[in-house]
């Protein structure tokens, strides 16, 4: 199929069943090259499960996953990451007892090919410092290079996580709620960071904050009860009465408009 060329990632009839419960129901995603693509939907819609399937933290019950037209359904998590599909996590995923610099170095190290060399001096990794500092600089963490991560404020941890993910030079960046639990100021910073990070790559993000989605995303897929409800750009999706319905529970007369949905802690 020549059409599939422009899609970085595709899922075909992706299904995940847990015992007696269908968490992801026949999902067909098509992520275009260069897009920032949002996956939204109410709690329990299966957004994070889709992420876990894409990165093989969960094994799909049925269906296929294609990355640049290549079937990666059978690949393992680590191999997918090295192919260029790198994810972040809902809970900030950092190595708490390493410094910010060391966090980034671990990501850079995975391309070095000496990670099994238990007889080599760790000083060999110092050559990664320069690139690591560049990445820290890009997210505004230069001052904290030598700070143990556990001591960083929440927003900075998320920035560090993003920098670590970027260190993998991903072609496709999967961000699981990058602004979760943040105040407005941090949210705006993350929006800028994601926008910068998205240059030259494709981003798929789960996001609750529809303000963020409206600012950032080229395309939106709405999930509800594990299935795709609708897809389109922000105007199309936000005008869709069914979307308002799943967000509001009943029909769309509530005063909490879809655009002001709160971030959840």
């Amino acid at each position: 199929m020549p059409m599939s060329e422009q899609y970085v990632l595709e899922t075909r009839n992706l299904v995940k069943e847990f015992k007696g419960f269908v968490a992801v129901d026949d999902v067909n995603l098509k992520i275009r090259q260069g897009d920032i693509h949002a996956l939204i939907g109410p709690n329990g819609a299966g957004k994070t499960t889709v992420f876990n399937l894409l990165t093989k933290f969960l094994i799909p019950t049925r269906g296929r996953i294609l990355f640049k037209g290549q079937d990666i359904t059978a690949m393992k998590s680590a191999a997918i990451a090295r192919k260029g599909v790198v994810r972040s996590f809902q809970i900030s995923a950092v190595f708490p007892h390493m410094t910010a610099l060391e966090n980034i170095r671990i990501a850079l190290q995975s391309f070095e090919g000496n990670s099994f060399s238990f007889w080599q001096s760790g000083n060999r990794l110092n050559k990664l410092n320069e690139r690591a500092m560049e990445l820290l600089d890009a997210v505004g963490l230069t001052r904290y290079a030598n700070t143990t991560t556990v001591e960083l404020a929440y927003g900075r941890k998320r920035a560090l996580e993003l920098a670590t993910t970027l260190a993998m030079e991903p072609e496709l960046l999967l961000l699981d709620e990058p602004t979760q639990g943040m105040g407005t100021e941090d949210v705006n910073r993350v929006v800028e960071l994601v926008r910068k990070a998205a240059e030259g790559r494709t981003v798929l993000m789960v996001e609750h904050n529809l303000g963020v989605v409206s600012k950032l995303c080229d395309r939106i897929t709405v999930l509800a009860q594990g299935a795709v409800l609708t897809e389109g750009d922000y105007e199309t999706v936000s005008a869709d009465p069914r979307v308002r319905e799943v967000y509001m529970g009943t029909d769309a007369s509530g005063e909490r408009g879809a655009t002001t949905t709160e971030t959840e802690a």
């Binding site: 390493m98 238990f118 760790g122 060999r124």
Partner: protein, 331 residues
């Protein structure tokens, strides 16, 4: 422009800090080395060798618990396999020089460790501990049933033999310095491993395994290698122990021994290099002192009490707490 200047400054500061920490460590290690060299002149060498063997056992165990985050409850199997293999060969192969017997015991434990790792590494947390315990119990059962181990009596009268066919190891001082050299080499190997690129990955796995996976690391392979190195060193400790005491007994294979090495590591400080050495020294001494006195029937409850106290109040262990104190007050 300013930012780049700052970057190099910070990098320089980091390197300097690494160097100064390195220097402090070298001084401490030098002092300890001198102590270890003169110790047999004032203390009974066999007792010191017992401490060194258990210290190596705990150092090996700590590579998993302290640096990879894996709690193995089956390390007695490696200690015993090393001991029995070396004991059997030295007793039954005439003219075999001691170091080859020890090497064979170590290899046997290494192979066994690889088997254990393949069967257990996919399990997490308590399930991993239980699988290693179950496998170690199978090994224990094998040793109980086999005639070559001497059953409850143990394998007795293992000849110490000669090192490289030259140096008589029946001389306690000769044996002590041989064991000291092996111990130091292993300690340095673990130190190197922990600081190596491989050690960095282990550290990452310990702190956040899903994240390590998402950064492209096939974590099970790293865990398997760590497990095999740990099993090899534990086997080496057992091999040397059987030469020191000229005895390999079922005690070494018993789950009680697996528990004891956990105790040594936690009391001394898991995740510190010196911790398991201090912990082993402490536990062996407490056992010895108590066995001499009126409290000889209370060894286990007292050690149990120490264990509880450590877990509740001194979670970083002796060395860990000292490090914390120094960092707080001297930096």
């Amino acid at each position: 422009m300013n930012e780049t200047v700052k970057q190099t400054d910070i990098q320089k500061a980091i390197l300097e800090q690494q160097q100064s920490e390195h220097r402090k460590k070298m001084i401490l290690n030098g002092v300890l080395l001198v102590l270890l060299l003169v110790a047999p002149l004032v203390m009974y060498p066999v007792f010191l060798m017992k401490i060194l063997c258990f210290a190596l056992f705990a150092v090996a165990f700590n590579l998993l618990l302290g640096y990879t985050g894996l709690l193995s409850f089956g390390h007695a199997a490696f200690l015993a396999t090393g001991g029995y293999t070396t004991g059997y060969l030295l007793s039954n192969v005439p003219g075999l020089s001691t170091e080859l017997g020890i090497l064979a015991g170590t290899l046997m434990a290494t192979v066994l460790g690889f088997g254990f790792a393949l069967l257990s590494i996919r399990r997490q947390g308590i399930y991993f501990a239980m699988v290693t315990l179950a496998l170690a119990q199978l090994v224990f059962f094998f040793f109980v049933q086999s005639s070559f181990t001497g059953g409850e009596d143990g394998m007795q009268g293992i000849p110490r033999g000669e090192l490289f066919g030259l140096i008589d190891l029946n001389d306690n001082l000769n044996l002590y310095y041989f064991i000291l050299v092996v111990f130091l080499a292993c300690y340095l190997l673990v130190q190197r491993t922990v600081g190596s690129p491989f050690g960095q990955v282990l550290n990452a796995i310990k702190q956040n395994e899903p994240r390590a996976i998402s950064l492209g690391y096939n974590v099970n392979r790293y865990k398997i290698l760590a497990f095999v190195i740990s099993a090899a060193l534990a086997g080496l400790a057992g091999s040397m122990k059987s030469v020191v005491f000229q005895l390999a007994s079922l005690n070494d294979a018993h789950w009680h021994t697996s528990g004891e090495v956990i105790l040594m590591t936690l009391v001394g400080g898991a995740g510190t290099l010196l911790g398991p050495v201090v912990g082993a020294t402490f536990v062996v001494n407490v056992e010895y002192q108590l066995a001499q006195g009126p409290l000889r029937d209370w060894v286990d409850p007292i050690l149990g009490g120490i264990f509880v106290l450590t877990v509740i109040a001194f979670r970083s262990g002796i060395v860990g707490e000292i490090q914390k104190f120094m960092r707080k007050n001297l930096s």
